[in-house]
């Protein structure tokens, strides 16, 4: 009689494994819906207080201090800015964590004449990154960059563009400008699970306001 019990347990365990496998199979046959951005304004932050610095003069412009933080009230972005360089292959480095944005040190400082480049992740492997809602920005929205000397530069969005990465317009995004401008860059478009990369970049163009 006692020999009967282990065999029955093995039989039952086998059934459990079959059921678990079937449930798993059925559940994963439906694609997981993408997380939808929260409604605009839900996580809106107040605009930073304190003096807003004037845009630069073209004659003997005053030196501008390094950027330390970025605030975009409408989409709830408030992040420290780390510094980024280029990779050995000449591509732009990206922040090593997805929760902060970074400024490319080879571009002008935000608020100086020229196009300052700031980059952040749209997401990590598990959830939203610092620039998750960047594509919600529209012409006329504000972004603020605080500098190491305590001054703040205010920028206003002029356009939001999506570019396929293999047709990225380098000159348009990184080329010289005669006024103080900002480029906020993240990923977007379709995600390719085979490579683990998004196929496009979202670029927000903004100009300093006085």
């Amino acid at each position: 009689m006692p020999t009967r019990k282990p065999a029955a347990i093995v039989f039952a365990a086998g059934l459990v494994v079959i059921v678990a496998g079937s449930v798993g199979l059925l559940l994963t046959r439906h694609p997981t819906p993408a997380l939808r951005p929260v409604a605009a304004g839900v996580a809106a932050l107040p605009a930073p207080t304190g003096p807003i610095a004037a845009p630069p003069q073209s004659a003997q412009p005053a030196p501008v201090a390094s950027p330390v933080s970025l605030t975009i009230p409408l989409i709830g972005v408030k992040t420290q800015l780390i510094t980024l360089g280029l990779t050995a292959g000449g591509a732009l480095q990206v922040p090593s964590t997805t929760s902060v944005a970074g400024w490319y040190t080879g571009s002008p400082r935000p608020g100086a004449v020229g196009s300052a480049i700031i980059v952040g992740h749209i997401d990590s492997l598990t959830g939203p990154g610092v620039f998750y809602r960047l594509s919600e920005l529209r012409r006329g929205d504000d972004a603020y960059v605080k500098r190491a000397d305590g001054t703040t530069a205010e920028f206003r969005v002029t356009s939001v563009q999506t570019y396929l990465k293999d047709r990225f317009p380098t000159q348009t995004v990184y080329g010289p400008t005669p006024d103080a401008e900002l480029r906020l860059i993240t990923c977007g478009g379709a995600f390719d699970p085979a490579t683990g990369h998004y196929l496009s970049n979202i670029v927000v163009y903004a100009t300093e306001v006085s």
């Binding site: 009967r4 990590s124 563009q161 993240t186 496009s200």
Partner: protein, 278 residues
């Protein structure tokens, strides 16, 4: 003409002097300058063509003043100069028209001596060769009619005459000593020429001798990154169902275990029957 010729020499297509970014928004830039040494201060007006209300008015613009760039919608404009304080409806001393193309920048400068004052429209360059800086020289000194301009000991313009504007020239980035050398006076300055920046060096009559003003026409990433950026891991992206293989393997393993258990149960049952039977 001179600009186009120099662009060809430098191997930069003339069309590439614009900023592609603002071309997408249909705007360009304009800045206004007073570079006529013996002309008193003026009021400068910028009108959208055919509109009598000025878009921009700069008051009491004195010799040597250059305004910041103003972003304007592409189209036709006219620039008028009046004596400082003159009525906005009075006849301007001087006026000129300028066509602003999207993505282009212009300097409209009062140039020459007061007796021959003219408004000159300069097409400002917005590109540099990778890793380099570019500069041009405006000679606006009346006291030193001809000036030699050097950068780091190299001659940039051998004989800049009063009221002339040189073509842009590429120079290696770095901090350079620049000199404007006239027959009776010399000005010296030291400036950092960052890669990816465009400069106009203006030679002026100072209170004593010559003066050099460094205008930053434009700036960008000196070493533009290659291609786009990799800023996502897909954690919020919609994704497909993935492979069913692991689940099928699990079901197979379950079936195997069940069969093993069932087989053993049956064997024990048979053996018991046999025992009872004997």
């Amino acid at each position: 003409m001179l600009l186009a010729a120099s662009a060809l020499l430098l191997g930069i297509p003339a069309a590439a002097t614009a900023s592609a970014a603002s071309a997408t928004t249909g705007t360009g830039w304009i800045r206004l300058a007073h570079l006529s040494p013996n002309t008193p201060a003026v009021d400068v007006y910028l009108y959208s063509f055919g509109n009598s209300n000025a878009e921009i008015v700069l008051h009491h613009v004195a010799y040597g003043t250059v305004s910041p760039y103003e972003e304007v919608t592409a189209g036709d404009y006219s620039v008028a100069m009046r004596a400082a304080g003159a009525s906005p409806s009075s006849q301007p001393v001087l006026s000129t028209s300028v066509t602003v193309k999207a993505g282009h920048a212009y300097t409209v400068a009062g140039m020459g001596p007061e007796s021959g004052l003219r408004l000159q429209v300069l097409d400002d360059q917005l590109t540099t060769p990778p890793g380099k800086s570019v500069m041009r020289v405006i000679q606006a000194s009346l006291k030193q009619q001809t000036v030699k301009f050097t950068c780091g000991g190299q001659t940039i313009v051998p004989k800049a005459t009063f009221g002339s504007v040189s073509a842009y020239q590429a120079i290696p980035s770095g901090t350079w000593t620049m000199q404007a050398i006239g027959s009776g006076a010399t000005a010296t300055g030291r400036w950092a020429m960052e890669p990816g920046t465009v400069h106009t060096m203006v030679v002026l009559d100072g209170t004593n001798g010559l003066e050099i003003v460094n205008l930053v026409d434009a700036a960008g990433a000196g070493q533009p990154p290659a291609g786009g950026v990799t800023t996502g891991f897909g954690g919020t992206a919609g994704h497909g169902p993935g492979s069913p293989a692991p689940w099928l393997a699990l079901i197979g393993a379950g079936a195997l275990i069940t069969l093993t258990g069932g087989f053993r149960l049956r064997r024990r049952g048979l053996r018991r029957q046999l025992t009872i039977g004997s």
